[in-house]
Homo-oligomer: 514 residues x 2
Amino acid sequence: MTTPSHLEYPPELSSEEERYLLSTLKDWSIAHGLAVRPAPSFVPTAEDPSGVLATTAPVTLFPSLFPRVCFEEGLGIQKAYNKLYSAIARDEKWLQGIVEELIDIDEFTGKLWQTHLAVKKEGYVQDLSLGLFRSDYMVHIDPSSSNSSPGLKQVEFNTIASSFGGLSSRVSTLHKYLLAVGAYPASATTMIKADALRQSKSASSLAHGLAAAHKAYGLSRTKRPLCVLFIVQDPERNVFDQRHLEYALLEECGVRSFRLPFQETLLHTSQDSDRTLLYTPPSSSSTTYEVTTIYFRAGYSPDDYPREDEWNARLHLEKSRAIKCPSILTHLAGCKKVQQVLATPHSPHLKRFLPDESVASRVLATFAPIYPLDESEAGKEAKKLAADPVSAVRYVLKPQREGGGNNIYRKSIPPFLESLPAAQCPAYILMEMIEPPPLRNAILRNGELHKGGVIGELGVYGVCLWKNGSDGGDTGEILQNFEAGYLLRTKGDQSEEGGVAAGFGAVDSCCLVD
Amino acid sequence: MTTPSHLEYPPELSSEEERYLLSTLKDWSIAHGLAVRPAPSFVPTAEDPSGVLATTAPVTLFPSLFPRVCFEEGLGIQKAYNKLYSAIARDEKWLQGIVEELIDIDEFTGKLWQTHLAVKKEGYVQDLSLGLFRSDYMVHIDPSSSNSSPGLKQVEFNTIASSFGGLSSRVSTLHKYLLAVGAYPASATTMIKADALRQSKSASSLAHGLAAAHKAYGLSRTKRPLCVLFIVQDPERNVFDQRHLEYALLEECGVRSFRLPFQETLLHTSQDSDRTLLYTPPSSSSTTYEVTTIYFRAGYSPDDYPREDEWNARLHLEKSRAIKCPSILTHLAGCKKVQQVLATPHSPHLKRFLPDESVASRVLATFAPIYPLDESEAGKEAKKLAADPVSAVRYVLKPQREGGGNNIYRKSIPPFLESLPAAQCPAYILMEMIEPPPLRNAILRNGELHKGGVIGELGVYGVCLWKNGSDGGDTGEILQNFEAGYLLRTKGDQSEEGGVAAGFGAVDSCCLVD
């Protein structure tokens, strides 16, 4: 990844070449729904009160170089990851141990767990569970070795609201189109060539995942029409990403779905006596639908729960007979503490969930060492590493809960730790920094072009539909398990935050290199 | 068309229904490229200097009611219209008679004719010609009869730059989608139902027309890659309409095309010694393409010719071996004077071009009476009708040249005529007003919703590829002739101008009624 040709990538463009590439890209993206609603900082709400404007989603001009072996390994092990996380989600007792370590320090995790317990008390009535997962990786080159081959290291595993599956499919089509119409200079086409570009099938595959749950739900118990319910944030700038899944669900699978803002859940849904979930669209109050599957694109962050009403809504949905994507236990399986205990060196946990050693070892190879900040031996060592400015530069400190935006990097760790009350320490994990190879690209964002060094993050989507065991332990049956396409998110390497949604990155696609 | 149920159409929406319909429509339109670049009055250029913003194209919320018999007749006679106008374009002598009547009063027509003569002097080297036509109609109900059935009356026939074929396909898909997801209230679905909605296949069909010309051009004479050249205005707010044809041309037909701003023609094209047209994209100066087909989406209005350079460019293109869509003679065949002489009562001209009487009579039935304002008997009578405020209210005065925006309606005609120098009169025609049935709809435009009475204009696209006779007369051979989808443009009935591009209308689709 650091041969001269890679450092010359992407090619320099003449002003005419850049003009052609940009105008081709800007028109194609809008013509194909590779779009977002503009941020208020770009178009003030007062200038477009009805919200009809859209803009090209933040995208890279070129597909970023990505080692073929890493790409194939990431996609290849997704089914193992699906199996792993569905097994974790089925193992309530094991999860309880995890949650108990967090419950006093992370109120959000505590509330989720209480919600689970409240449902458990009355008894779960739906034994099917759907995961639309995304496992995020970076390419890692060991800085201590001068000639090491690149490997894939996991950044995080998302079990709720894994986003960009809709736009990712389109950006890979965009880059293929730009190649087809000669928007990349001839000098670059030794690297950017049809068989190096990888189409992401995420939009279609995730829709098929939702459709599989919808079908597995079975016939209506109330003789009503059936639907899938997208629980969403409102407003949502990234709405087209979600809409593309809706459209694929209808066009490819014939399944109706509705969007329901999370905060309106209790207004428009109700339960039958047997906890069948009913949805009456406010736009057509004479028709009530029976909900087969709840797809959460909201509810993953404490910000989504400003009132007790939202917790009541989550409880109400979790209690219902609809299949949840994800259930609360699956949501909890995605907390960083789980990633940490799996990735703590010599952890016994991985083999508990993946007894097949050859499978487990492939998964293990993608873990970056992660340490708890607790009173264990590993925790004590981690605190030493984190407090020392010399060693701290190889680490990142991450809060246990989902979301991003609060990571503490490298030399900022020691002063942060010093200011942190000791009791708060276990709310964080310490992770060895992944050292990605140097790459360059150009990002179009809000009409502005940013060129320079970048870091790419590969997300691999996975669909898993399973039946929970009746005993609540780690039994059960997997009904569907497939890899569901990929996302490449690319950010400027001066930024140390990663989410495109958070405002720092762009959607990208892979140009594989050997 | 005036039964009570029609007057109750479209249905009143509750605020919840309207909210659902609008949000569904706004997201779908952007996700599917049913979009335009925003007008500077909506988003000032300074706020989006790089031009990344887009907005929903002006569209109707509901498909407008349209009499099934009229719709089918319009599509059914398009092949006859294609034949008619290709025959006119082949008959240089006949066209010369038309042009000679205009040449002193319409400088633009004169310049086009001189350009043709200049090419003729050197000899045309391409005997193939392509028309992507659009015949525009309104539904007419004879106001003098209390129970007459609706008929189709032609507004104009476009032989150059017939627009909205790209967006029209999408708006009919949009209306079908809105029906499928329950965005139309149940009360309306007795009228809006799947078998009443008509999908327009215009984007694909027009692309296939371009591809037919591209193929008929034959092998490269210069061993260079072949391409189609879109000659465009720059900037172009309606760019997605054109891009959809480009995408269909590449994806469905495998044909490369480029967009070239008309004013840059001479910079980037050249001719070989045998007048093969060569195009070197400024973005990749090492590759020169041989142009098979020139598709004019500019050059139809005098505004496109600010300098003599543009006339030189038109001459340069017309002289070349590339197939023109349209040629200058085909462009001239679309002038209003031609429509007028065909539609002048008892005109001998129609049967000259359409000898088959049963075909000619169907075409004739779509003509609204049109009078010249010249020194003929019909012209003298027309001037009387136009000068009298009582009779003038049934007429519209139109300039001979293309474009729109300058029509004089009804009671405005007498004072306008009075102010017009007599010598200018023949530059105009007098046309009986078409009296459309009362209709209602709602239009979303720049984020604003406009509800009320509307007028619809049906455009039927036609593709015709023909070989000109070697004698320059009305001989030759038609190689391709097909109907190519439709456009429904709908405008508020308080406005008397029709073009969506001109800022007053919306793209619509047909909901057929018996």
